[in-house]
């Protein structure tokens, strides 16, 4: 594509405005226009405004669940990812078993299984009642256990992207395998996988809507509850969609700025 543009520019200097039009981020204009139109509707239409303020009450829970779950799944993912590349066959197989198990089951099913089967089972073995753990905590546990497996694969790919020579150089300086991993391989691997982790943060924000099935009062659940009494399906679900679209757009813009800054740093 880039070559085609260059050739056109070189042979027909008069049509540069065309390439300008082709490269303009129209998608961004269209999406922000949709968001603006909806925002105006919310400002001027009392019905829209009511539904907006209702769903807004779930925003905090959505963000809370997303941020807490994502931070913890980074930790779990790092541990599992290191296990995945471990020399010890026991550790490696434990990690692979876990990761393949999680990746082989739909997320919605896992959320049910973890929240209503695994967590109560663990609670009982510790002599606690079935309902000892709140539903929000169960939702976070489920998301962490699921995303930990996904993020482990990102870390594994990052570690494997660092050439064998780096580990050899560190080892030949007398560092242990753990030291070489910690001071030489991991810092480079993590930098390489930051864009992929950013994508998973956005995915996590969207998937947090799934925990509405547990009755956790995040945005989707608040919207569903509201609809069940108001029957305003169209307004409610359009506004709910708008919420997620705006959040993911802001998040991906933030991540892009962050990435550009990191690249500028070298």
């Amino acid at each position: 594509m880039a070559i085609e543009h260059d050739q056109i520019m070189a042979s027909r200097p008069g049509v540069t405005w065309r390439t300008g039009l082709a490269q303009f981020p129209w998608w961004f204009l269209i999406i922000t226009s949709i968001i603006t139109i909806m925002a105006l509707r919310i400002i001027f239409d009392p019905i829209y405004r009511d539904i907006f303020t209702t769903i807004l009450q779930g925003l905090g829970v959505t963000l809370y669940v997303t941020v807490v779950s994502f931070s913890l799944s980074l930790l779990l993912g790092l541990v599992l990812g290191l296990g995945r590349v471990a020399k010890n066959p026991l550790l490696r197989n434990l990690a692979i078993t876990y990761i393949e198990f999680i990746r082989g089951v739909p997320m919605l099913v896992l959320i049910f299984t973890i929240s209503f089967a695994v967590v109560p089972l663990v609670a009982r073995t510790f002599g606690l009642p079935n309902n000892a753990v709140s539903l929000t905590t169960r939702a976070i546990i489920a998301l962490v256990l699921i995303y930990g497996a996904y993020i482990a694969e990102i870390f594994r790919a990052g570690i494997e992207s660092i050439g064998r020579g780096q580990m050899e150089a560190a080892r030949s300086l007398g560092m242990s395998r753990v030291q070489a991993m910690r001071y030489v391989v991991l810092p480079q691997a993590i930098r390489n996988v930051l864009p992929a982790l950013g994508n998973d943060l956005i995915a996590m924000l969207k998937d947090s809507s799934l925990v509405s099935v547990l009755g956790v009062r995040e945005m989707t659940q608040v919207a569903r509850l509201s609809v069940s009494t108001s029957f305003r399906y169209e307004e409610t679900y359009f506004i709910l969609t708008l919420f997620y679209l705006t959040l993911t757009l802001i998040l991906s813009l933030l991540l892009q700025v962050l990435q550009r800054r990191m690249r500028a740093k070298g």
Partner: protein, 249 residues
Amino acid sequence: MSQPANQPMILIENVSKYFGSFRALDRVNLRVEAGEVLMIIGPSGSGKSTLLRCINHLEVPDAGRIVVDGITVSNNEAHINAVRAEVGMVFQRFELFPHLTVLENICLAQQKVRRRSRQESEQIAWQLLEKVGIPEQAHKHPGQLSGGQQQRVAIARSLAMQPKIMLFDEPTSALDPEMIKEVLDVMLALAAEGMTMVVVSHEMGFARNAANRVVFMDQGRIIEQGPPEAIFGDPQHERTKLFLSRILH
């Protein structure tokens, strides 16, 4: 580590190494004395790099014995680390740590392995950067340096551990021609100071000026060895003659 005067710095006895069914090393025997500069030449796939990498256990021999400065290299992690602390290694592709500055590259292992303070390790790093002639690059990242400069930093990084032996695995083959000399000059200076060196390279200039002995390897075996003038001037084996005729134009 104190040792009897007749003990070699490196002793390689009957070492064999297989990669699958490929025999990379075939019952190799070699002695390297303290202060000796040994050069290993041979066609690619002859086992010269593998032999070098066996000395600090980056490759594990399938048979035979390697003794470095009185320590037998075994699978024992403590022995391996003890040997690696004595043996510095310089790689063809430098293998500097790209996320660290030049100074940090030289200080990392000093602090984590030798347990030196930040101040002490930096002082040593500055001395070595002076020695290899690039103190002005200390705060740059490896990616901002030329290949020759990177290789000189890599040498400084190894020297910071104060090794008794330096291994060089084709240290100039990834360099542009105009940068080879600056790296060879550093190696010549090291040789003049009496460092025990094992160098896998085809740099004839270095061989003539610094090597005490040249070993020619082919198909995992040592075919012949001797002083550089003998190997280059009057090779005895057909394979050595054939190889030299290909690299000496």
